[in-house]
């Protein structure tokens, strides 16, 4: 047990800002290390100005307690780095250094996270102007890719250190998508806030909007109706469905198995069209709003959607097992880009990638919110940690999502899916919300100032945890397996770059 007693809150709860204990450097360090050691996940870590100094706040989601722990420390210029003991903190500490110049003593390498302007001075390093890992010797060579890639895909820079075909190290350098979202959220919410949330990672519109709405609802004491929760959950699972189907198709494409690639390309569109049936937009834009949803689902719409889900399921049953049963596909998936459960746990992997290593991490089960409080989705796990596992977990989740959507569609629309008017946010409070986006855990941390405006708003997309996992998975692989490994993670650039 830790020697500091820290508050634990349920997912979507808020507490007064001053209820978060501000402890000394050693106690901060030790408490987090112990929580992570006992299975906790470092969901967020951020710095915020406090008087002349800074508050560093850590958010640890503890599946055993099914609650979220909060602890803070006050820092003037530097603090003891958590990274040597808790590698999951490496990205957060680099981010805090880049934003506020606070130095974690003992961090192995404070390289830039996204080349964003300093929140203190407004100055940014020129993008890509940084030291990169390098190797030297006979037959060593370096392959640099990006920021503009060969496909229709977001920009990022990758450097491979290779000996022959074998990759010894992959370094991923991002920041090309940085749009200044978190900075712009301060002082909100305002009329642009939901549009930032919807476009943080445009393929996870529902995932991020769920977390945002829940944070605002918690800060102003609103409770969305069961119907609104029902529609949100249907939309969230449709989002998962569409993206998993697209990924399964793209994985088939990356090993040259064209039937599944082509079928899934089309079926993915059918899934996006189901979301458009609810709100007119294939990505769920304009569907969620703090307090509820902006569109209803009457009995007729539910019936139509059920029919189309049945067709979609039949199409998938013809397209997907075909791929998994094909020996040439299995041969390429098996053992490629494998991560052990131990590494996954230590680097703080989340979502599909973590479950593919055998970790039973799923916000929907451990920190249930909305409709998931009443209808639990079993966690889909596979244990080999390789591309096969990441593909197969997606297929298991597709099937679970279809069943879940069917159950939710059977619930009647009580007509109370509309949204009440937003009151002003409670001042000086802190809200933490988690949602399970299709990539993994989404964490939003919102704090209000004395006027009830956002003093800070931290967004952690699952990609923030998982890019490091991709880099690690490439070690010892053939460079030609990079596209396959990359697609098996399919991480967001804009969700990371913000």
């Amino acid at each position: 047990m830790s020697f500091v007693s820290i508050p634990f809150i349920y997912n979507g709860d808020s507490i007064p800002m001053d209820a978060v204990p501000v402890v000394g450097d050693a106690a901060f360090h030790q408490t987090i290390a112990e929580l992570v050691e006992s299975g906790g996940h470092l969901s967020a870590m951020l710095a915020a100005p406090k008087d002349d100094n800074f508050l560093i706040l850590a958010v640890i989601s503890a599946p055993k307690q099914e609650q979220i722990g909060l602890i803070a420390t006050e820092v003037a210029k530097e603090y003891t780095s958590l990274t040597p003991e808790c590698p999951a903190a490496q990205g957060f500490e680099r981010e805090i250094f880049e934003q506020w110049g606070l130095k974690p003593q003992g961090h192995p390498w404070l390289k830039p996270v996204r080349f964003q302007p300093s929140r203190r001075t407004g100055k940014a390093l020129p993008i890509g102007d940084a030291d990169f890992f390098s190797m030297a010797g006979e037959d060593m060579h370096e392959v640099a890719v990006g920021p503009v890639h060969a496909g229709v895909i977001e920009p990022g820079h990758f450097r491979f250190q290779c000996h022959g075909e074998t990759v010894y190290h992959l370094e991923i350098s991002l920041g090309y998508q940085h749009r200044g979202v978190e900075r712009s959220l301060v002082g909100g919410p305002d009329k642009r806030t939901i549009h930032y949330m919807e476009t943080l990672a445009g393929d996870s519109t529902i995932g991020h909007m769920t977390a945002y709405c829940s944070a605002v609802e918690s800060l102003c004491g609103l409770h969305p109706s069961p119907t609104a929760q029902n529609i949100r959950a249907i939309a969230a699972e449709l989002e998962r469905l569409a993206n998993h189907i697209g990924d399964l198709g793209a994985l088939a494409g990356d090993v040259g198995f064209l039937p599944t690639l082509n079928y899934c390309g089309r079926i993915r569109g059918d899934a996006l069209n189901l979301t458009a049936m609810i709100c007119g937009n294939r990505f769920g834009r304009g569907l969620l709003i703090p307090g509820g949803v902006l569109f209803q689902m009457d009995a007729k719409l539910r019936r139509q959607m059920r029919d189309r889900i049945n067709i979609l399921e039949a199409d998938l049953d013809s397209a997907i097992p075909l791929m998994f049963d094909t020996p040439s596909v299995q041969a390429r998936f098996e053992g490629t880009g494998a991560l052990s459960a131990d590494i996954a746990c230590r680097i703080g992997l989340t979502g599909v990638a973590a479950r593919a290593c055998g970790l039973d991490h799923d916000v929907r089960s451990h920190f249930p919110y909305g409709a998931y409080r009443f209808d639990n989705i079993p966690i889909s796990i596979y244990e080999t940690g390789d591309c096969l596992a990441r593909a197969y977990v997606r297929w298991l989740e597709v099937k679970q999502s279809i069943e879940f959507i069917r159950r939710q569609l059977d619930l009647p629309d009580s007509g109370a899916g509309s949204h009440p008017k937003i009151n002003s946010l409670a001042p000086n409070r802190l809200a933490v919300t988690l949602s399970e986006g299709w990539r993994g855990q989404i964490c939003h941390v919102a704090a209000t100032d004395a006027q009830g405006k956002f003093a800070f708003y931290k967004v952690v997309d699952p990609s923030f945890h998982n890019w490091f996992g991709l880099a690690y998975a490439l070690r010892g692989q053939q460079i030609s397996d990079f596209p396959l490994c990359n697609k098996s993670f399919n991480l967001s650039y804009c969700g990371y770059d913000l």
Partner: protein
């Protein structure tokens, strides 16, 4: 092998007949081209106050909506007490001149976007390099989907290619972040002339939700000359396809 053939049979031929056949179905709640029904009766400016991206302006009671900024969120529809703003189901939104994206009372229901140069040079083959410059992956996804069997834009000789050296033009998404500016300039320079530039989505046209952020530069035309604007957040694949086809002079039924 037999299973592959069986699946092929089950999945059927799915490429849509459009444009020689009917329009693919749009969702019932689809928000297409904005329509302004008449002048603002009392100059209340509720729509202007509600719009997150300042897409609406009122001059002498005449309401004008800039589709290049609009996120199609429809908050203005709810805000207007007189019901003067609505979004029709019309998916044809593209324009070749920026000012033609501004819609007011009596605006034509579609804009002529044929580029004779583009038609004569690229009418039968247009290879595009896609550059995401701060895009959220929605515009990218709905551009990419045009390559799948259902849409199959390869039918029209349009294709996304892997290198700007192989391309006839760029399709740009995203508000163009400061961090992508140089990469976009270099990619543009790498495309051999003659070349076209297409700005796809509210971000690429005007900056979208990121208008006037210090970290972005308000869209593609701040860096490169844009030949075709395709509005939306994101544009529906049909809107993108319609824009590309009419730009190249293909026959499209109304």
């Amino acid at each position: 092998m037999l299973r592959v053939l069986k699946a092929r049979y089950e999945q059927k031929h799915r490429t849509m007949k459009y444009p020689s056949g009917p329009l693919p179905a749009l969702p019932d709640r689809f928000a297409g081209r904005p329509e302004i029904k008449g002048p603002c009766p009392e100059d209340c400016r509720a729509c202007i106050g509600a719009c997150p991206v300042n897409a609406i302006s009122i001059n002498n009671k005449c309401i004008a909506m800039d589709m290049g900024r609009c996120l199609f969120c429809r908050v203005c529809v709810t805000a207007c007490p007189h019901g003067m703003i609505m979004f029709a189901r019309n998916h044809q939104l593209s324009a070749t001149r920026r000012q033609e994206l501004i819609v007011s009372t009596g605006s034509p229901v579609k804009t002529e976007i044929l580029s004779e140069t583009a038609r004569d040079i690229f009418g039968r083959s247009l290879k595009l390099r896609q550059v995401s410059a701060g895009g959220c992956n929605a515009c990218e996804a709905d551009s990419n989907v045009l390559g799948t069997p259902a849409w199959d834009m390869g039918r029209f000789g349009i294709q996304f290619v892997a290198s700007p050296r192989h391309a006839d033009g760029l399709l740009i998404t995203g508000p163009v972040t400061a961090n992508m500016r140089l990469a976009l300039e270099k990619t543009y320079a790498a495309v051999p002339e003659p070349r076209v530039v297409i700005a796809c989505g509210a971000c690429a046209i005007s900056g979208g939700p990121y208008i006037d952020h210090a970290e972005t530069i308000n869209g593609a035309s701040s860096v490169v000359p844009v030949d075709l604007f395709i509005p939306g957040c994101p544009p529906h694949p049909l809107t993108i396809l319609d824009g590309l086809l009419r730009f190249l002079g293909h026959e499209i039924p109304d």
